[in-house]
């Protein structure tokens, strides 16, 4: 759904004070100039927006151990999309 991508990019741009126009799916999270505290606040904002739990651990920022990937913005959008879908499926079950 286009909404998830738009919302995630909006949140990242706002929280990290980045140029919204420069954000795209291929952008690598590690290369964007995002401070560690901003990352944690971005995760919080995403969780609040979609009412999901993102398995992000600051000690493993790439997400490897949690079985998700946070390498690129696209990865983050896809992870959030999956969590939103799981949430919807759980609610209708």
């Amino acid at each position: 759904m286009a909404n998830v991508e738009k919302d995630v990019l909006d949140i990242i741009a706002k929280q990290a004070n980045l140029d919204r126009g420069k954000l795209n799916r291929d952008a690598k999270m590690a290369e964007l100039d995002i401070q560690s505290l901003d990352v944690v606040e971005i995760i919080f904002a995403i969780e609040e927006k979609f009412d999901i739990t993102v398995p992000y651990n600051a000690n493993d920022p790439s997400g490897v151990a949690a079985g998700v990937s946070f390498n690129t913005i696209g990865d983050v959008v896809d992870a959030v999309q999956n969590l939103v879908n799981e949430q919807a499926a759980a609610k209708s079950a």
């Binding site: 560690s36 505290l37 995760i43 919080f44 739990t53 651990n57 600051a58 000690n59 493993d60 151990a65």
Partner: protein, 404 residues
């Protein structure tokens, strides 16, 4: 300046409710990190911690007293009782007026806060118990210790998050060294295993879901602990005059501020505190054998602390034994420094170095001797104990093997 020695020690922690139990666990390299039972973990993502179990406060405090005691005050009092009995000092009417009580604590009476907020906001209760404020105030453990033991010299609590204990002990040490007081009852206590606090910690995204593995490649963060350690410190000459048992000598205290990030540590700040401590102690880096690391098990701390140790000790860093006992007793926040200094002192006196438990594989960026998994027999001559807190407050204490 007076020489200052430790003449009484009390530990009340998840790893042992007496100094003897604590020492046995350290020697065995046993970690007490386990699934939480003190609170319900249904709403929690992080379900492990190092909690104090099998403690029935009613067996140790009268009903009237208990009405005034949050968990963190109970822990502090239990440790103080052991330490003061151990020292053989009768403060009341004796040296009490020349004794300071300075206790570190980062978070105050969390259980009391948590329970009472719930009553007002969730249950809509109209009134709270009159002792709510005296229970939750951060100075409560200090107050009760002075009351129970008749200490009438200067007393206050010290707060600097994870460095609270080291700062408290450092201040007390300086006061005894300068002659401002003759003795001090000092240390730290913390009890933050509440649902509210745990949710707060989860949100920082630094908590390990499994266990605490400081310096290991696959470490996943910190694990909360709780407990207290209290020690009696006094001038060497008066300790000798009364034939006191002497555990170790406190020889230095160093403290700096990162003035940087509110949560991320700085190698420069940490190294500065270690250097300041060594200078205060009159110790050359080469004289230090053991470092009880802050070692929380987070990616940030363990790498930064390793770097800071290299900066402070140079070539000697590779000869140091460095261990994080948080691997065994968890991170007791405001009580951490005291519990860790107790571990250091117990090791000094017992000729062993406590290990870094749960160690799997070395992180390439952490290249020191972390005494993995097994306690090591060693006669440590001098050691330092590090605390590097949120907010950039660094506090380091140095202890020496006592020799008359």
């Amino acid at each position: 300046m007076n020489r200052v020695v430790v003449t009484g020690l009390g530990v009340f922690s998840a790893l042992g409710k007496t100094t003897a139990e604590f020492e046995a666990a350290l020697r065995a390299g046993r970690s007490c990190i386990a699934p939480l039972t003190v609170v319900s973990t249904d709403a929690l993502i992080v379900k492990v911690g190092a909690e104090i179990r099998d403690f029935e406060p009613a067996r140790h405090f009268t009903e009237a007293k208990l009405a005034l005691l949050d968990r963190f005050a109970q822990f502090g009092m239990m440790a103080a009782r052991e330490a003061i009995a151990d020292s053989g000092v009768n403060f009341r009417g004796g040296p009490g007026h020349r004794t300071a009580a300075i206790i570190g604590s980062g978070a105050a009476g969390q259980t009391t806060l948590d329970e009472n907020y719930f009553k007002i906001y969730a249950q809509g209760q109209k009134r709270l118990h009159p002792f709510t404020i005296p229970k939750l105030m951060i100075n409560a453990p200090t107050s009760h210790i002075t009351m129970e033991h008749g200490i009438t010299g200067p007393s206050f609590s010290v707060a600097s998050a994870c460095s609270s204990s080291n700062h408290a002990i450092g201040v007390a040490f300086h006061m005894v060294r300068s002659g401002a007081v003759d003795m001090a009852v000092t240390g730290g206590t913390e009890a933050t295993v509440t649902i509210g606090t745990l949710k707060g910690w989860e949100a920082l995204r630094v908590m390990a879901p499994d266990t605490c593995r400081p310096f290991s490649k696959d470490r996943k963060g910190m694990v909360l602990g709780e407990g207290a350690a209290i020690m009696v410190i006094e001038r060497l000459d008066s300790a000798k005059a009364r034939g006191a048992k002497i555990y170790a000598e406190i020889s230095g205290f160093g403290s700096t501020s990162d003035a940087g990030d509110i949560v991320l540590p700085s190698a420069e700040g940490a190294a500065g505190a270690m250097r300041a401590c060594l200078a205060d102690a009159g110790l050359n880096p080469e004289e230090v054998n053991y470092v009880n690391a802050h070692g929380t098990g987070t990616t940030a701390n363990d790498v930064t602390e390793t770097k800071a140790i290299h900066m402070t000790f140079g070539a000697h860093a590779k000869k140091l034994m460095v261990s994080s006992t948080k691997s065994m007793h968890g991170h007791a926040l405001g009580g951490a420094g005291a519990i860790e200094l107790a571990a250091t002192i117990v090791g000094l006196r017992g000729d062993f170095v406590p290990p870094t438990a749960n160690f799997t594989e070395a992180d390439p960026q952490c290249d020191l001797d972390y005494v993995p998994n097994d306690a090591r027999a060693a006669k440590v001559g001098a050691a330092i104990s590090n605390s590097f807190a949120f907010g950039g407050h660094n506090a380091v204490l140095a202890v020496k093997r006592f020799s008359s």
